[in-house]
C-alpha cells in the first residue's frame, strides 16, 4: 500500500511547493527589484508585505476574463493552459532529494528539454489566436527565439551528460559528489544559463513581450486568470531552469550538514534570485542582436565545449 501511495504523495508535495513558490515569486521578484532600485517594494499587506501574494491572486481571479470577439476562441483558451501544463510536467523528472522524485526517467534531461520545447506552442498559439498584429509579432519572435536558443541549450548541458555518462538526473547529481560540474563545465554553465533565460523569456530576452515595442506581445489580449496562467507559467519556468542549473552544474541536493532537500532549495533559490538580478540590471537586446548572438556565438561555443569535453573524457579513458 505504501508503495502505491508514495508517488501520489510526492506529486502532491511537488505541486503544492511549485505552485505556491511560483505565486510567491511575484512577491520575491517585486521585493528584490525594489531592493536593487533602492526602494522597498510591497511591504504593507501583512508581515513583510507577504499578503501581497494573496491580494494579487485574488485580484487575478476576480478580474474580468474577457475573450476578444475576433479571437480564435478554443485556441485562445488552450494556449495559457499549455505553458503551465508543460512546465509542471517537467517537474516530474526533477529529483528534489535522493528518492524524492516523481518519475526517475533514464532520459530525464531529454524529457526536460522536450517539455520546455513544447512550451513554445503556448506562446505561438496565444499570439496567433489573439488575432492581433502585436500579439502575432510577439508570438513569432518568441518562436524564433526559443527555437534558436533551444539548439545550444541542449548542446550546452551535454557536457554534464558526458561527464556523468547518463541522461538520468539522479545519476548526474550523484556523479558530482566529488566535484560540481560547474568547474569542468563552466562554459556549459554560462551557456545553459543564458539559454535558460531566453527559454523562459525572462527580462534580458523578453522580446516576445517587449512592452516598449509590442504592448505586451503575445499576451496583449489576455486578461484575468488566463493572463495569470502565463504569469505563473513564466515563474514555473524560472523555477524549473533554476532547478535544472543546480542539478546539472551545482550538485543538486549534495552538500554538507543541511538535509538534501534544503540544499537543493537553497541552490535553486539562489539561481531564481540571479534571474531577478539579470532582470534588474540588463537592457534588452535588439532582435537581430539576439539572433546573431544565438547562432554565431553561443552555438559555436556550445559545440566547441561539447567537442573538448568529449575529447578530454575519451583521452582520459
Amino acid at each position: 500500500m505504501r508503495l502505491n501511495l508514495f508517488p501520489l504523495l510526492v506529486i502532491a508535495v511537488v505541486l503544492f511547493v511549485v505552485l505556491n513558490l511560483s505565486a510567491g515569486l511575484i512577491w520575491v521578484e517585486r521585493r528584490l527589484l525594489a531592493l536593487w532600485q533602492d526602494r522597498y517594494g510591497p511591504n504593507r499587506v501583512g508581515p513583510f508585505g507577504l499578503g501581497q501574494i494573496l491580494a494579487d491572486s485574488i485580484k487575478l481571479f476576480t478580474k474580468e476574463d474577457w475573450i476578444p470577439p475576433f479571437a480564435d476562441k478554443p485556441v485562445f483558451i488552450l494556449a495559457p493552459a499549455i505553458v503551465v501544463a508543460t512546465s509542471l510536467i517537467s517537474f516530474a523528472v526533477v529529483p528534489f532529494a535522493p528518492g524524492f522524485v516523481i518519475a526517475d526517467l533514464n532520459i530525464g534531461i531529454l524529457f526536460l528539454l522536450a517539455m520546455s520545447s513544447l512550451g513554445v506552442y503556448s506562446v505561438v498559439l496565444a499570439g496567433w489566436s489573439s488575432n492581433n498584429k502585436y500579439s502575432l509579432l510577439g508570438g513569432i519572435r518568441a518562436a524564433a527565439q526559443m527555437m534558436s536558443y533551444e539548439v545550444f541549450m541542449g548542446l550546452s548541458l551535454l557536457g554534464s551528460v558526458i561527464l556523468a555518462g547518463s541522461f538520468r538526473l539522479t545519476d548526474i547529481v550523484e556523479a558530482q559528489r566529488g566535484l560540481w560540474f560547474v568547474v569542468p563545465q563552466f562554459l556549459g554553465f554560462i551557456l545553459f544559463l543564458i539559454a535558460g533565460v531566453a527559454e523562459t523569456r525572462r527580462l534580458p530576452f523578453d522580446l516576445a513581450e517587449a512592452e516598449s515595442e509590442l504592448i505586451a506581445g503575445f499576451h496583449s489580449e489576455y486578461s484575468g486568470m488566463k493572463f495569470g496562467m502565463f504569469f505563473v507559467g513564466e515563474y514555473i519556468g524560472v523555477i524549473l531552469v533554476s532547478a535544472a542549473i543546480s542539478l546539472l552544474f551545482f550538485g543538486g541536493w549534495l552538500g554538507p550538514v543541511l538535509p538534501p532537500a534544503l540544499w537543493f532549495a537553497v541552490k535553486t533559490m539562489f539561481f531564481i534570485c540571479l534571474f531577478i538580478l539579470l532582470r534588474a540590471a540588463l537592457p534588452r537586446p535588439r532582435f537581430d542582436q539576439l539572433m546573431s548572438w544565438g547562432w554565431k556565438v553561443m552555438l559555436p561555443l556550445a559545440l566547441v565545449n561539447l567537442l573538448v569535453t568529449g575529447a578530454v573524457v575519451l583521452a582520459r579513458r
Binding site: 538580478l277 539579470l278 540590471a281
Partner: protein, 171 residues
C-alpha cells in the same frame, strides 16, 4: 560582455545601499510654510474676521471654486455671509492668496484632504475659518485701513493723521 557583468555587479551592490523611499504615513516629507495646500480663512490678532468679502479671490480663481456672499454688520464692517470653497475643483494655485487685500485667505502646508464622498470636499466657512492670524501674526486690516467703520472714524487708524480740513485756512 564584460560591461554586462559589471552592470550586474553594480546593481547587486545596491543590495547594501540605503533605500530612498519615505514611508509616507509613518514618515512625512517636510512641507515648507509656503507650501500651497489646504486653504484657510484667518483672523485678526484680536479675533475678528479678516475677510472683507471683496470677492477678489473668487475673481482671481481660475477654476471658479470659491463662492461667497458679502454682508455688513451693525458697525458697517463687511464680512462674508457664507464662504464656500469646492476643493474638488481647487487646483491650489494660490492666486486667491495673492489677490487677497487683507491676508484673510491663506494656503497652508496640509495636503491630506482625502474624502470618500465628493460632497465632503465642499468646505463651508466654519470648515475654513481658523482661530489664528496664519502667516501674518501682527497684521490687522481694520487698524491700518483708512476706511471709516463704526467705532473708528477716518484718521483714527494706526500710523494715520487726521484728514486735512479743506475748509480751514490754517496750515
Amino acid at each position: 560582455m564584460l560591461s554586462l557583468v559589471r552592470s550586474l555587479w553594480e546593481v547587486f551592490r545596491h543590495t547594501f545601499a540605503r533605500r530612498v523611499t519615505v514611508q509616507y504615513p509613518e514618515q512625512k516629507a517636510y512641507l515648507s510654510p509656503r507650501y500651497r495646500g489646504r486653504i484657510v480663512l484667518t483672523r485678526d490678532p484680536d479675533g475678528g474676521e479678516r475677510c472683507v468679502a471683496c470677492n477678489l479671490c473668487a475673481v482671481a480663481c481660475p477654476v471658479a471654486c470659491i463662492s461667497l456672499q458679502a454682508t455688513e454688520d451693525e458697525h458697517g464692517r463687511r464680512y462674508p455671509e457664507f464662504f464656500r470653497i469646492n476643493f474638488s475643483r481647487c487646483i491650489f494655485c494660490g492666486y486667491c492668496e495673492e489677490a487677497c487685500p487683507t491676508y484673510a485667505i491663506q494656503l497652508t502646508p496640509d495636503c491630506e484632504m482625502g474624502e470618500y464622498k465628493r460632497q465632503n470636499l465642499v468646505y463651508e466657512k466654519t470648515d475654513l475659518m481658523i482661530d489664528g492670524p496664519g502667516k501674518y501674526p501682527d497684521y490687522n486690516f481694520w487698524r491700518v485701513a483708512g476706511v471709516a467703520i463704526g467705532g473708528k472714524d477716518k484718521g483714527q487708524a494706526e500710523n494715520e493723521l487726521p484728514p486735512v480740513d479743506t475748509h480751514s485756512l490754517m496750515p
